[in-house]
Amino acid sequence: MKIKLAVGYGSICGGCDVAFIDLGEKLIDLTELVDIVFWPALVDTKEEDLRKLKEIDVGMFFGAIRTDKHKATLELLREKARLLVAFGTCACYGGVLGLANAARSMDLLKTGYVITKSTENPKQILPGLEKLEGIPISIPKIRSLVSPISDFVDVDIWVPGCPPPVDSIIKLLDVLKDYQRGHLPPKGLFIAEDRSLCEFCDREKPEVLQIEKFRRVHEGKIDEKECLLKQGILCLGPVTRGGCGARCIKANMPCRGCFGPVPNVEDQGTKFITAVAAALKAGEEREVGEEELKKLIEEIHDPLGLFYMFSLAASIINRKYLDLGGDEDE
């Protein structure tokens, strides 16, 4: 019996669909293994058809929860599927979209549909909030926060990555093959490593990490063999799950954390703040002094964007606060 598979969409970029195409010949394995009952990019069935089915085997969800419609699709998928897979970083942690939580949804809508100079919207209609005249369908309402799917449903299998690498998808197919033979995967299985990326990185690592000065990737030459952090490049390796094959590191670029926090770490960004600040001028603080240290830390212009690029929606401080006024935009 083929496995019945349905894929639901949240707020997506399409990268997760494309990740499957990267499988190449292995795609044939997939088609032999599953019967796709719903997948908007691939088959012509509608959500109605999914609703009519009594049960499916595997539901996969791509993307974060941004609108009420995404939440409804997710809940339908959870209701029908025996196994729910959070596929991709957005489904697991909110992903890049999560950065939208640093602003208010209403401000985002206004910026996108009213304020920008290229927009012509004389009635100042904001999508999802007002019914459009003469058009029978309505646009889903934007939620106040971007959320990872685990905020609403139980997740059985997590596949992080932006997008998940081919190796992860092959491992997922193996899990599905086992399922076909009657073996259920352990609850909350992560198709990633349980140790940090540093454990899988080939660069030479110092005994004690000491950072002289922070710098950005375009500032000066980056040594291809030495630890990036040692060179002052902000690399999220220490706080990020391994399993990606160190794709970015091998291309001489720092890790940005798309595999999410290592196990037992709740807040990837803050853990990194704790780690990286400690390494700055480590052992020389007394001589350097508070003023100078402060100046060096000021060199990091955007801790939010750098340390929370993929995980803000799943973090401790996961929303905009109104202490500094509503429209403050820094």
């Binding site: 803050t270 704790t274 700055l280 240290l293 830390i297 801790p303 401790i316 401080i317 606060y321 202490d323």
Partner: protein, 137 residues
């Protein structure tokens, strides 16, 4: 602010200086508002910023008190570790719309009971003016 709002401060106090300073304030019978919940830690360098954020979510402000820089830390440079972390954390808090003044780092030695009482008084007053921490719902 309404009269009913009483700020709550979670205070991480280092075992050698901040906590001893609070003890000194007590034995000297100095008065300060009952707004703080003290937590004794071995050293300010032991405090993970994750703990600070968790504390901030359950309170109105977080006070961290440790040994004076440059030379007072019992563990040589724990106070500097904390200083660097808090400085960076504050940048993040500002980006999320949280007033960085809600996290306050002070160097209070074991003899500075007066300073401890003054800091708690000041901080409480400051938080009263700021009001409760409100996020997007």
């Amino acid at each position: 602010m309404s009269g009913e709002y009483k700020p709550r401060i979670i205070a991480f106090l280092c075992r050698w200086c901040g906590y001893a300073g609070a003890d000194m304030a007590g034995t000297s019978r100095l008065k300060y508002p009952p707004s703080i919940i003290p937590i004794r830690v071995p050293c300010t360098g032991r405090i993970d910023m994750e703990q600070v954020l968790k504390a901030l979510k359950r309170s109105d402000g977080v006070l961290i008190a440790g040994c004076h820089t440059p030379g007072d830390c019992h563990y040589v440079r724990g106070n500097f570790q904390c200083f660097k972390r808090v400085t960076l954390l504050k940048k993040f808090l500002r980006q999320m719309g949280i007033n960085p003044a809600r996290v306050r780092l002070e160097w209070i030695s074991a003899t500075e009971g007066r300073k401890f009482a003054r800091v708690v008084r000041e901080f409480t007053k400051e938080l009263e003016e700021l009001g409760p921490l409100r996020g997007v719902e």
